[in-house]
């Protein structure tokens, strides 16, 4: 099975794709969810088989390349690759997707476009799996764009809502800005090294020979690729689309905007990491430094904004942006394995949190404002417990929750970064903020008095709580392979043989993390306990709160600068079109008309006049002559007689 799937890797993305098409073709409401779930479950089994195959040897890597088309001398080759990075992503994506598919059966039960929803979900899953196993930057880009398309379709799923349609457009266009950079990177890479394959038996772009050919261009290629990652992973300054994307149905938010799609940017950087680190001195290169600082800014800004949001999904969205920033920092400082581990752990607990929020929203009759909830602890026990596990994993409560180990590892990696210690301290602050805003959310939603929306809340059906339990279980059990005592996943991702060292379990970093998380949660409980529907921060610092609640006015800033410029350019083009170019066209048209008028009058006055004169003369002559032809036979006779008389007289005159 394991060997078989390695040579049939294409089956993993193909299955959900076929299911997606099948659902659209059948258009049967009953079959839709079943087909999608079966497709996803089989994909999960195949992914697990592929994962088992990669366990065989450390640094396992198998790729299949094939020629897509030949263009003159050049053959464009695509390929699929299976290595630890791809394998863990496959398992994570298929597992999280499966949970979300099952959850959606309950969440979307009342929606009339149930069938379409599952077709899109399956399609999305197929595209994302394609991104993961692509062995060619071009194939990756194709799947990347398909993921973007799926995201567009799903964010705008409730098309009758203008805000959803606008959010879908915003997401699509904003990520497109980053994708322009990505596309330029592809062209640049192909122009320089003549190949887009990652691994090709020594000739791939990520292998030694390829990197040598690339030379100094690697810096620019890496930066341009990072543009794409910034767009897709919602990094500053292109993060604005991600919170708006919460307009989509909650399972979509969980699947796309938390667990999988936004991870594509982080995955991309990890995949082409050799290009980013090409020519590194002490593990530092210009592109990696950019990655670190962008990540730091993103993580802090969005954690602060999350503090002042009232929409339960928006808080999670900003939390996602913040965590993605953290992963970018990790990649930038050289902790690739740590970043990917956090990506996987985050995939589980963020999907859990989003599905939990979906359950809360469902239970509170589509209410999303946390200030109108409260006291849901007793009404929704399963949701409460699983949500608490997700919250603790996200905050990084040590020992039992997956997020803690990965965060600790990232903090450790940042502390070793040679150029600056600033990212390390800022990330420590980020940990406190994360614990703080998650505690705030917990207190608002589950504790205190029951406010308006919580009066008639009810627990969700088992089809929705089931996936929550599975994901909560994953969020805890996953920590087993993350502990420093048995850093199995770390070694697996780094291509080393796993080792076991119990003395590594308790490190100074652990105490630090524990202290910071305790500080965050403690502050949160202190601030928000008994605060009711009002926010203590709003009372203490109204200006700051408004600044954060309005998302630092970044949307307005873009509206006032870039969009203003775009609108100005549009208006200028309109003006130029209307008056300048149109004027030129009109001028030429006028000249043409002038000539036409001249020839017309020449025709009418000169040529027509000649013809008219000639015909007029002929007609006048005819009229005169026809006047003589009176039809009176006696007149003719008289004329003959007169003529004869004249002849006689002439004859007489002659003689």
């Amino acid at each position: 099975m394991s060997d078989w799937i390695v040579s049939h890797l294409w089956l993993i993305p193909a299955l959900p794709l076929i299911m997606s098409l099948g659902i659209l073709a059948l258009a049967s409401r009953n079959a839709a969810a079943g087909l999608a779930i079966v497709g996803q479950a089989v994909a999960l089994i195949l992914s697990l088989a592929a994962f088992v195959a990669t366990l065989a040897t450390p640094g396992y890597r198998v790729f299949h390349n094939f020629t897509w088309f030949t263009f003159g001398e050049q053959a464009l080759r695509l390929g699929l690759v299976l290595d630890p990075l791809a394998a863990v992503m496959l398992v994570m994506i298929t597992l999280v997707s499966l949970c979300i598919f099952v959850f959606s059966v309950g969440y979307m039960a009342a929606d009339q476009n149930f069938t379409r929803f599952f077709a899109y979900l399956s399609f999305f899953s197929a595209a994302m799996l394609g991104v993961v196993i692509a062995n060619s930057l071009l194939l990756l880009f194709v799947c990347w764009e398909l993921v973007g398309l799926a995201s567009y379709l799903l964010i705008g799923f409730w098309i009758h809502r203008p805000s959803a349609a606008a959010a879908a457009k915003k997401a699509f266009i904003t990520t497109r800005i980053g994708d322009i950079g990505f596309f330029l990177a592809i062209l640049w890479l192909y122009g320089r090294s003549g190949t887009l394959l990652f691994y090709d038996g020594g000739n791939g772009a990520l292998e030694k020979a390829g990197l040598v050919t690339l030379g100094a261009s690697a810096t620019f290629v890496a930066l341009l690729i990072f543009c794409g990652a910034v767009g897709k992973s919602g990094q500053f300054p292109l993060h604005v689309w991600l919170p708006d994307a919460m307009e989509g149905p909650t399972p979509v938010s969980a699947l796309i905007h938390a667990a999988t799609m936004v991870a594509a940017g982080v995955f991309l950087v990890a995949r082409v990491y050799p290009i980013f680190s090409s020519g590194a001195i002490n593990g530092v290169t210009a592109p990696l430094t950019v990655v670190v600082w962008i990540g730091v800014v993103t993580a802090l800004i969005s954690a602060l904004i999350a503090l002042a949001q009232a929409d339960i999904k928006r808080i999670l969205a900003y939390s996602t942006v913040s965590q993605l920033g953290l992963m970018m920092v990790s990649l930038g400082v050289g902790g690739v394995a740590a970043g990917i581990m956090h990506l996987l752990a985050h995939g589980f607990f963020k999907a859990l949190l989003f599905l939990g929020s979906g359950s809360i929203i469902h239970g509170c009759h589509e209410e999303q404002d946390i200030r109108r909830m409260g006291g849901l602890r007793g009404l929704m026990p399963v949701t409460f417990l699983t949500y608490a596990i997700g919250m603790m994993a996200l905050s990084g409560v040590p020992l039992f929750f997956s997020g803690a180990w990965t965060k600790e590892e990232i903090l450790h990696a940042t502390s070793l970064w040679s150029p600056s210690r600033v990212p390390h301290y800022l990330m420590l602050a980020g940990v406190v903020l994360t614990a703080l805003y998650m505690t705030r959310q917990m207190v608002y939603v589950f504790f205190g008095e029951r406010r308006a929306a919580a009066q008639h809340a009810h627990e969700s059906p088992p089809v929705m709580t089931g996936p929550l339990v599975v994901l909560a279980f994953c969020a805890i059990i996953f920590s087993v392979v993350l502990t420093p005592a048995w850093p199995w996943l770390h070694d697996y991702l780094s291509g080393e043989r796993a080792h076991y060292d119990l003395s590594q379990l308790i490190q100074p970093g652990l105490y630090l993390a524990l202290a910071l998380v305790a500080l965050g949660i403690g502050l949160g409980v202190l601030f928000y306990r008994g605060s009711g529907a009002s926010d203590p921060l709003e009372h203490a610092q109204p200006a700051l709160f408004r600044f954060l609640a309005n998302r630092m006015w970044l949307d307005e800033f873009y509206d006032g600068t870039i969009l203003l410029f775009a609108r100005f350019a549009a208006r200028l083009s309109d003006f130029l079109d209307r008056y300048f170019w149109d004027g030129l066209v009109r001028l030429f048209a006028g000249i043409g008309q002038l000539f036409a008028g001249l020839t017309k009058s020449f025709d009418e006055r000169a040529i027509n006049a000649g013809v008219n004169d000639a015909t007029g003369a002929a007609r006048g002559l005819g009229r005169v002559l026809s006047g003589w032809q009176s039809g009176q036979v006696q007149t003719y006779l008289s004329a003959i007689a007169l003529g004869m008389l004249a002849l006689l007289l002439f004859y007489a005159w002659l003689t």
Partner: protein, 104 residues
């Protein structure tokens, strides 16, 4: 008194003029036809007169030509009368003033 050539020529010219006048002034097609016959008769009379008072009056050449001319004139009169009858049947008139369909 013996008739002379001049006498015949004057009679002939008078006859011709009367015929011409009839042909030009009468409105009835039959009378015009009669006028034309009179002009033909004047021409015939001229032939006879020039033959009789000419240098060789012995062979009857002038008489023969005139007899032929009268025979042809009879045929012409028959055709002319047939035309007049056809016209009358078609237009219910023989007034040549009204028969102006060939007007230009």
């Amino acid at each position: 008194m013996t008739p002379t050539l001049q006498f015949f020529l004057i009679v002939s010219a008078a006859l011709f003029c009367i015929g011409l006048l009839a042909a030009l002034s009468r409105r009835h097609a039959i009378f015009i036809l009669i006028g034309i016959e009179m002009m033909l008769a004047a021409a015939g009379l001229n032939f006879i007169a020039f033959w009789r008072f000419g240098p060789r009056p012995a062979p009857p050449t002038g008489v023969m030509v005139t007899i032929f001319a009268i025979a042809i004139a009879a045929a012409e009169a028959a055709v002319g009368l047939a035309l007049v009858i056809a016209v009358y049947r078609h237009y219910r008139t023989t007034n040549v003033d009204q028969l102006d369909h060939l007007k230009g």
